[in-house]
C-alpha cells in the first residue's frame, strides 16, 4: 500500500467510524465524517468523485437548492441513474465528502452502481471548491439574493466568487442558468461552456414595478440602470440595461403559462428547448407545489433533465410525481391537523412564501420561529425587509417562537398584524419561547383538518422536525431522499 492510499484508507475508515458513532448517538452524521476524513486525506473528495460513472451535477444559489436538487434526483431515478445527494444542510465540502465516504469501500472504491451520479447542492461560497474537487459536468445556478449578510458579505462579493469559480469549469461542461436573474444570467456571458437558460415567459406571473427592496438594479457589464418590463419576484424578471443594451437572454426552458389551481398545486405550460433548438417542444404538467418560487425550481430541474438527455415525457412524469419534503412545503399530519413546514431564510424568499400561502380566504393559522444561530444568520434585521402585506386584512392566528421570538412579534406589531385594533379582528400574536409549548399552542388554536403553516428559520426547522420525530410524527431528516 502506498503512503497515499494508506492515508486514504485511514481517512475512509475514520470517516465511517465517525458516521457510525453519530448515528448511534441519534444524530445525522452528515458532515462530521467528511470533515474528519478530509483532515487526514485532503485529496479524498476529488479521488472519490472521479470514480462516479456519470460524474456530478452541482446546484448552487440562494434559494431553491434543496428542492431543485431533490427534483433532479427524482427525475433521474426512473432513467436508471443512482443519484447520490449530500444530505440536507450539509452543503459545504465536508458534506460532499461525507456522502462519498459512506459509499466507498475501505480500499477507496466508490460502490454506488453503474449509473451513479452525484447531485450536490452547495453553499454559495463553496462553489469554487466544489468545482475544483468534482469537475462537474453540469452546474446549475438558481438565483442570488441578499441572505445572511453576516456570513456571506454582500451580493456583489458572492457574484464575483461565482464568476471566478466558473471560469475554471471544463469547456465540456454545461452551465444551466436562471435567465430572469441578471446576476446569474450574466455568468453566461463570460463562460466558454455550453449554456442552457431557463425562465418565466408568462407575464401574468408578475407586475411591472421592481420592489423597493430589490437587491439588484444595475447592469453588471456597464453599471447602468436596469429597466424592467416585468418583475416576478425580488429582482427576477424581464430586464434590459438602459445604457449598454445588455438584456435577459432567451430561455431554452420556459414557463409559457401558469395557473395556481389552489394553494397546494398549479398547472404549468412549459416549453422545453435546448441550445440550437430554442423552439423546442411544448408540454403541460401539474405540479403538486404552490408558488412561483417552485416554478423556478421545476424549470431548473427540467433544464438539467434536458441537458442530461432525459426524454420529455419522463421530465413531465418526474415533476408531476414530485412531492415536497424537509421543510420545503413539507406536509406532516399531526393530531388531526396538517402541518405544512416551510423554511424561511431571507426577505425575498420569506415574502414569496407569505404571498403563496395567503392565497384564498380562510383564516390562516401560523407558527413562526425565528432563531439567530450561525446557520440562521445572527443578524435578524432581515425580518424588517420582509413584506408582510400579503397577510393584511386576512384573519390570522399567529404564534411566534424561537430565540428571537420577541423581535418577530415586534415586526408583526409594526406590520399591524395580530393587533386587536387593526380592524381585521385577529387576536394578538402569542409569544412563546419554549418550542414544545409553542407548537402545542399553535396546534390547539388550529381547527381539526385545517392547515397550520409552520415557518421556521433553518435551525428552528431542525428543532421542530427533531421534536416531531421524537413525537413519532415524522421520520428523521437524514432519511429523506
Amino acid at each position: 500500500m502506498t503512503a497515499t492510499s494508506a492515508r486514504r484508507f485511514s481517512a475512509i475508515v475514520l470517516g465511517k467510524l465517525v458516521r457510525l458513532a453519530a448515528r448511534a448517538a441519534g444524530r445525522g452524521g452528515t458532515a462530521l465524517p467528511g470533515l474528519v476524513a478530509e483532515k487526514l486525506a485532503p485529496d479524498l473528495l476529488p479521488f472519490l468523485a472521479a470514480q462516479l460513472p456519470e460524474g456530478s451535477v452541482v446546484v448552487t444559489g440562494t434559494n431553491g437548492k434543496t428542492t431543485t436538487a431533490r427534483m433532479i434526483a427524482h427525475l433521474l431515478r426512473p432513467q436508471g441513474y443512482t443519484p447520490l445527494r449530500n444530505a440536507e444542510g450539509s452543503n459545504l465540502i465536508r458534506g460532499l465528502a461525507t456522502t462519498l465516504v459512506c459509499r466507498a469501500t475501505l480500499g477507496g472504491k466508490v460502490r454506488a452502481g453503474p449509473k451513479a451520479l452525484g447531485i450536490f447542492e452547495v453553499d454559495e461560497a463553496t462553489l469554487p471548491a466544489a468545482i475544483a474537487s468534482l469537475s462537474p459536468k453540469t452546474v446549475l445556478v438558481t438565483n442570488l439574493f441578499r441572505d445572511q449578510l453576516d456570513r456571506y458579505g454582500e451580493v456583489d462579493r458572492v457574484r464575483a466568487i461565482w464568476g471566478e469559480a466558473l471560469s475554471h469549469l471544463s469547456g465540456e461542461a454545461t452551465l444551466v442558468l436562471n435567465a430572469d436573474d441578471p446576476l446569474v444570467a450574466s455568468l453566461g456571458r463570460q463562460s466558454s461552456c455550453r449554456i442552457l437558460y431557463y425562465g418565466v415567459e408568462d407575464p401574468a406571473q408578475g407586475g411591472s414595478e421592481l420592489p423597493l427592496m430589490a437587491d439588484v438594479r444595475t447592469c453588471l457589464a456597464c453599471g447602468g440602470n436596469l429597466s424592467y418590463s416585468r418583475c416576478f419576484y425580488g429582482h427576477l424578471g424581464h430586464y434590459r440595461c438602459g445604457v449598454c443594451g445588455a438584456g435577459r437572454p432567451q430561455p431554452h426552458v420556459a414557463l409559457l403559462r401558469g395557473e395556481g389551481r389552489d394553494a397546494q398545486s398549479q398547472l404549468l405550460r412549459l416549453r422545453l428547448g435546448r441550445p440550437g433548438d430554442l423552439a423546442g417542444e411544448e408540454t403541460s404538467l401539474s405540479l403538486a407545489l404552490p408558488g412561483l418560487y417552485n416554478v423556478y425550481n421545476a424549470l431548473g430541474a427540467a433544464a438539467v433533465g434536458v441537458t442530461l438527455g432525459v426524454p420529455i415525457p419522463a421530465i413531465v412524469g418526474g415533476l408531476e410525481s414530485f412531492s415536497a419534503a424537509f421543510g420545503r412545503y413539507e406536509r406532516i399530519p399531526y393530531r388531526g391537523r396538517v402541518l405544512i413546514l416551510i423554511l424561511i431564510k431571507n426577505p425575498v424568499g420569506c415574502t414569496e412564501v407569505l404571498r403563496t400561502i395567503a392565497q384564498g380566504e380562510r383564516t390562516l393559522y401560523l407558527l413562526l420561529l425565528l432563531n439567530d444561530n450561525t446557520a440562521d444568520g445572527r443578524d435578524v434585521s432581515w425580518i424588517w425587509d420582509v413584506d408582510f402585506s400579503p397577510l393584511s386584512g386576512r384573519q390570522t392566528r399567529m404564534v411566534v417562537s424561537g430565540r428571537r421570538a420577541e423581535d418577530l412579534a415586534l415586526r408583526l406589531k409594526y406590520a399591524e398584524l395580530g393587533d386587536p385594533t387593526s380592524g381585521a379582528g385577529s387576536p394578538p400574536v402569542t409569544v412563546q419561547g419554549d418550542l414544545r409549548t409553542a407548537l402545542e399552542t399553535a396546534v390547539a388554536a388550529t381547527p381539526l383538518e385545517s392547515v397550520l403553516y409552520v415557518l421556521p428559520t433553518y435551525t428552528a426547522l431542525l428543532e421542530v422536525r427533531g421534536l416531531l420525530t421524537a413525537l413519532g410524527a415524522a421520520a428523521p431528516f437524514w432519511e429523506g431522499a
Binding site: 453576516d150 454582500e154 427592496m213 412579534a409
Partner: protein
C-alpha cells in the same frame, strides 16, 4: 390607539431608498411612521434619489441607511456634488438626522474603503472611517450601547473602523460589541440633532426611547413643544431586554 390630532405633522426625507437600504434599515422608517400614526401625527415620507435636489428647509427628519461599497461610491458622488451643501445647511439648522452604517460613514470627513479610492464625505461629523483591507475581520455581532442613561441594542456589521476627531461627540459608549473601531469604546456620533450609528436591528423598533427622542427633537424644533402621548411599549421593552440578554450571552 389613535388619539386626537393636535394638528402637528412631520415630514421625513428618506435619502437613497434604493441604493442605501441594506439589511432592514427601512424598518426605522416604518417604526417612525407607526409611532406617529398611533399618536394621530401625520408623518409624510418623501423619497430622495440621486440627482434630486434636497430642500434644506423642507424636512423635519432625514434618514440614510447602509449600502454595499459599490452603491456607497455612487451615493458619495451625489452627496458631495449634489445634496451635500443643502444637507449641511439642514443639519446646522437643527434638522433631526439618523444615519446608519454607510450613511453614517458618508457624513464623516472621508471613508477609505477596502479597495478603491478614498471617498470624501460631508464632514458633518468630525470622524473618518478606514477599512483595514479585505483580509481584516469585520466587526459583526450584537451590540449594547450606553446612551443617555439607558441602553440601545442592535447588530453591527461593518469593515470600516471609524475614528473620532477632537470636535466629535460619540452617540454612546459600547458595553457589548466593537462600536466605532473596537478600541476606544465609542459608538456612533452626535452633532446637533444629527445621529450617526453602526447599529442595524433595525435600530429604532427595539429602542423606542430613541425613536421617541428623535420625534421629540423634531417636534420641539418645529412647534416649540414636544409632548408625545405615551404608547404601550411593553412588547418593545420585552424585545429590548431579550436582545440585551442575547448580546450579553445570557440567553
Amino acid at each position: 390607539m389613535v388619539l386626537p390630532s393636535k394638528e402637528h405633522s412631520l415630514v421625513l426625507g428618506y435619502l437613497y431608498p434604493q441604493e442605501m437600504n441594506l439589511y432592514g434599515d427601512q424598518g426605522n422608517i416604518l417604526c417612525l411612521q407607526r409611532r406617529c400614526q398611533w399618536r394621530g401625527i401625520p408623518l409624510e415620507v418623501e423619497l430622495l434619489e440621486p440627482g434630486n435636489p434636497l430642500d434644506p428647509h423642507r424636512y423635519d427628519l432625514l434618514f440614510l441607511g447602509g449600502a454595499q461599497d459599490k452603491e456607497q461610491r455612487a451615493v458619495a458622488r451625489d452627496l458631495v456634488e449634489g445634496k451635500g451643501p443643502a444637507l449641511r445647511q439642514a443639519v446646522e439648522a437643527g434638522t433631526v438626522v439618523l444615519a446608519v452604517c454607510g450613511g453614517y460613514q458618508l457624513l464623516g470627513r472621508y471613508y477609505r474603503p477596502a479597495e478603491g479610492p478614498e471617498l470624501p464625505g460631508l464632514g458633518i461629523f468630525d470622524v473618518w472611517t478606514e477599512h483595514p483591507g479585505p483580509k481584516a475581520p469585520r466587526c459583526i455581532g450584537n451590540v449594547v450601547v450606553q446612551w443617555q442613561g439607558t441602553t440601545l441594542v442592535g447588530f453591527e456589521n461593518h469593515g470600516g473602523r471609524t475614528y473620532l476627531g477632537p470636535a466629535a461627540q460619540p452617540l454612546g459608549r459600547v458595553r457589548v460589541g466593537k462600536g466605532n473601531n473596537g478600541q476606544d469604546g465609542t459608538e456612533g456620533a452626535l452633532y446637533k440633532n444629527a445621529h450617526g450609528t453602526y447599529l442595524h436591528g433595525s435600530l429604532l423598533p427595539k429602542n423606542p426611547h430613541l425613536a421617541d427622542h428623535l420625534l421629540r427633537l423634531a417636534l420641539r424644533r418645529k412647534y416649540g413643544e414636544d409632548t408625545l402621548p405615551p404608547l404601550d411599549d411593553a412588547l418593545e421593552e420585552r424585545a429590548h431586554q431579550a436582545a440585551l440578554l442575547r448580546a450579553q450571552g445570557r440567553r
